[in-house]
């Protein structure tokens, strides 16, 4: 019965990922099971050492830190996308599970959605 929210846009240049995160937090706040999947350029959300101060934006990695507290069940990342964007395992924030978003993985979710 889990809803998977997919974030596939790089952070900071687009607001859709933040709105995806809000969807996940809302589901969790209403006790609905949900998880997040980062794929494509969205895996850059998971990079350690983000310094968005120069942009005047809040760190998305920090926003994401609240996911477990809100009750988001899991953070998944497409392992291949991480490789493509040069995200070595030690450059990924804690608590992320690397997966291949294939049919077997996706069919484990009742619903899959994007913020836009």
């Amino acid at each position: 019965m889990t809803t998977l929210i997919v974030i596939d846009q790089a952070p900071y240049g687009s607001w859709s990922g933040r709105e995806g995160l809000d969807m996940a937090f809302s589901l969790a706040a209403f006790d609905q099971s949900c998880a997040l999947l980062f794929n494509g350029a969205g895996v850059n959300w998971l990079r350690t050492g983000q310094q968005p101060d120069g942009l005047g934006q809040k760190s998305v990695a920090q926003n994401l830190g609240a996911a477990a507290i809100f009750g988001v069940e899991a953070l998944y990342a497409d392992a291949q996308a991480c490789q493509r964007y040069g995200l070595a395992n030690d450059a990924i924030i804690a608590g992320v599970t690397l997966i291949a978003p294939d049919q077997t993985f996706m069919t484990g979710f009742e619903k899959v959605t994007f913020a836009g």
Binding site: D22, M23, S26, Q32, T113, G116
Partner: protein
Amino acid sequence: MADISLQTYTVVITGAPYSSQAPQTALDFARAAVAAGHQIDRVFLYGDGVHIASALICPPSDEPHWPRLWSEFLAEHQIPAVACVASALRRGLIDSGEQQRYELSAHNIRAPFEIAGLGEWVEAGTCSKIIYFHSGA
């Protein structure tokens, strides 16, 4: 061909009018669904989709007026429509309540749209099929 059983849909629109086709495609879907006997239980505007609820959009007279066309469709079929409050406030879509709360000079929500929280979307997910119309970016 098997009959398609009648469904209840929630329409979510995240693409803005005039910068994406999402509101137009969503309206075409909604009209076709209603014509075929399906129910639309609500329309939820999220992200840039909240601009559909603006009372101040003035396209040139030879272009479709998507906010007005949506309003007319919603009123005709008595379908409730909600713009996400967080998305709406960020983008300057304000109802009279938010105008007072933030001491703003105006409000600009087009009837019958209302402003509400993401809880409306969460609730929709528990009782109907949600169909999303994104900008495709």
